[in-house]
């Protein structure tokens, strides 16, 4: 069972790694977008899937990271990838400051507040807040990233940068899921009241999940800025938050393989439907409704955890 899972993971990783060798620049770039959204959705999954916080403003954290990278790179010429931790830090800090007073709000109230935070950030960027965001036109001339002196330019090269980052994200988030924090978050999602009753500081762990998710979205923003070399407020609209949210719920909230599959479907589907031209978003919307009706829990829902009890011969006991 465990071996088969490993074979599946290794097999799909190998197919993915070989994909750019057979695809043209356009489809490689589609895979790059899927990779960035996969990282974003994984970070949102921490917030929505694990902590159960209704966040429809994730694009704000993504934007803070991307703009941090763009501003520091264009004014101080710090290499873009070296800014990765800085971007994570600013996004996380922003999330902490913005969410601290509102973390206790009930689900749907939190939803509109996160939409509000997303809109406030977007409007501030458009209006060139502090004179550093470049207004409507955004910031251009972000330098190409380089790894050990090797400059990354082509979509194929970006593919490996993005997907290695996505791979690291998957491994770290998998480890997180089975850590003390992960167990607390899992508990929180299953039953908040029971979690609180068992001595879990729910507000604290919700904030941890939110800040961690935001920090990761900030780093995804850094990579996006490096890939595009130009960023503008239009790339961080409510629509982006909706896409990330749809990936998480449609793939399966709380499940890493589900979220990855969701990213492939949600970002890849409009590309496959490109032949339908203007009707493709119509089909996309209808498909979202249909998928939710037929796979309510998501495509690959998170399964209840199994723990081995000492003294039992085989299998596990559901907790």
């Amino acid at each position: 069972m465990k071996n088969r899972k490993l074979v599946v993971i290794a097999g799909s990783a190998a197919v993915l790694a070989a994909a750019p060798l057979f695809l043209d620049a356009y489809w490689t770039d589609v895979l790059n977008n899927i990779g960035i959204y996969a990282v974003l959705a994984l970070s949102l999954n921490l917030i929505v899937g694990h902590a159960g916080l209704f966040n429809l403003g994730h694009a704000a954290f993504y934007a803070v990271g991307a703009y941090t990278a763009a501003i520091l790179n264009t004014t101080y010429h710090i290499p873009v990838l070296a800014l990765l931790p800085v971007c994570g830090f600013t996004s996380g800090l922003f999330a902490l400051l913005a969410a601290r007073p509102i973390i206790h709000l009930r689900g749907d109230y939190l939803c509109i507040v996160t939409i509000g935070i997303g809109e406030i950030v977007r409007i501030a960027l458009i209006n060139n807040i502090f004179g550093i965001t470049g207004g409507d036109n955004g910031i251009f001339g972000i330098s190409r990233p380089s790894v050990f002196g090797y400059v990354i330019r082509s979509p194929q090269q970006f593919f490996y940068l993005i997907w290695i980052f996505a791979g690291i994200t998957v491994i770290l988030f998998h480890l997180l899921e089975y850590s003390r924090v992960g167990r607390a978050l899992n508990y929180l999602r299953e039953d908040e009241v029971a979690a609180e009753g068992s001595g879990i500081d729910t507000a604290h762990y919700k904030l941890v999940a939110l800040v961690l998710g935001a920090a990761w979205a900030g780093m995804a923003g850094n990579i996006y800025a490096a890939k595009m070399s130009i960023i503008s407020p239009g790339s961080f609209s409510f629509w982006e938050s909706v896409l990330m949210f749809a990936i998480v719920i449609l793939g399966g909230a709380g499940s890493i393989p589900g979220v990855l599959l969701g990213a492939f479907l949600i970002i890849g589907m409009p590309e496959v439907f490109r032949q339908f031209a203007s009707a493709r978003m119509l089909i996309f919307g209808a498909a979202m409704v249909a998928m939710m009706i037929f796979r309510t829990q998501g495509l690959l829902p998170a399964r209840p955890r199994k723990y081995r009890l000492a003294g039992l011969p085989s299998g596990g006991v559901e907790t």
Binding site: D108, G116, V193, L282, F284, M288, V289, T296
Partner: protein, 321 residues
């Protein structure tokens, strides 16, 4: 939009400035009331659906847009050439409301009813999908460019009192939305169906035990809410004269904010929240910053929620125990 030319009033003598100040305030305040009335009408649809189903109906904003477009189609058709402006507009409003009400019922049947017993976030994604579908359907049918309403329907004159000149169309829009809100309030408070809707919003299970057909209540809610939203779309078209297939998001997000502001699920709350948000936004555009108008509206919401976590008129209830 209206604020731009008003803000740039040239400074002059002190007394003149004071009158200008009053004029500016009066203009912004009445404009805020008119826009707020529209927000309130849309917010009612959000809050009623939320009250009964605990679902944020993201597609509601697109039904509002559809109302504006259907209104335009009807106005330019032969039907309204013979009728006077008053009866023509009243008939128009009724037809738009009826059609959008049917659309609302259809939306519920297709996108929400299969998900009644599902986790709430699945229904939210379904709502987002339905919203994308509707918005693109409108774009495919009517085109992506702005559409223009004929300008001869609402009177163009201004009403002058105490030296202020308030456009009559603004007052008409405000009166229309207030009248509809009044009618709805009466309906919700005094009729049997209204009582059933309120009961289902408080406790669906208990309402069912009292012999209330909750499915019928849900159907009613999905017809009344969109009917109000469709009427709001028509008002926006008549008042501003221009509509676009993406306008649902701008109005919808504000209306939802208004519903939360008043305490979601609470019908008078949505009315108060809508009017208040319209006024705040309009005054902020004139006195604080036009560019940050939308940001200020959200900022006020966040501040109010920090102080009163369940909105202005919301009841303090535990989430789930």
């Amino acid at each position: 939009m209206h604020a731009r030319e008003l803000v740039s009033a040239a400074p002059g003598a002190n007394a003149f400035v004071r009158i200008k100040d009053m004029e500016l305030f009066a203009q912004q305040f009445t404009n805020g009331l008119a826009v707020g009335g529209v927000y309130a009408l849309i917010a009612l649809g959000y809050t009623m659906v939320y009250g009964v189903l605990k679902l944020i109906n993201f597609a509601h904003s697109d039904l509002f847009t559809l109302g504006a477009y259907l209104g335009l189609t009807l106005i330019t058709s032969w039907l309204f050439s013979g009728l006077g402006p008053l009866w023509g507009t009243a008939l128009l409003a009724l037809m738009v409301m009826g059609m959008i009400a049917l659309m609302g019922a259809l939306l519920d049947r297709v996108a929400y009813r299969p998900l009644r017993e599902s986790p709430r976030l699945s229904a939210v994604v379904s709502a987002l999908g339905a919203s994308i579908f509707l918005q693109n359907a409108i774009m495919l049918i009517y085109g992506a460019r702005n559409q223009v309403y004929p300008q001869n329907i609402l009177p163009r004159m201004a009403l002058s009192a105490f030296g202020f000149h308030i456009p009559l169309s603004r007052l008409l829009v405000l009166c229309a939305s207030l009248a509809m809100m009044g009618a709805l309030y009466f309906f919700i408070q005094k009729t049997r169906i209204g009582t059933a809707i309120r009961a289902a919003a408080i406790d669906q299970g208990a309402a069912r035990l009292m012999g209330i057909d909750v499915n019928r209540v849900i159907l009613m809610v999905f017809m009344i809410g969109p009917a109000m939203g469709g009427a709001a779309g028509l008002l926006v078209g008549l008042y501003y004269g221009q509509i676009n297939f993406t306008m649902g998001w701008a109005y919808g997000s504000k209306a939802f904010t208004a519903a939360i502001l008043g305490g979601i699920g609470n019908i008078p709350g949505a009315m108060v929240g809508g009017l208040l948000l319209g006024i705040i936004e309009s005054l902020a555009a004139a006195y604080v910053s036009l560019a940050y108008k939308d940001a200020i509206a959200f900022l006020v919401l966040i501040l109010i929620l920090v102080l009163r976590p369940t909105g202005l008129l919301g009841e303090r209830v535990a989430e789930k125990v």
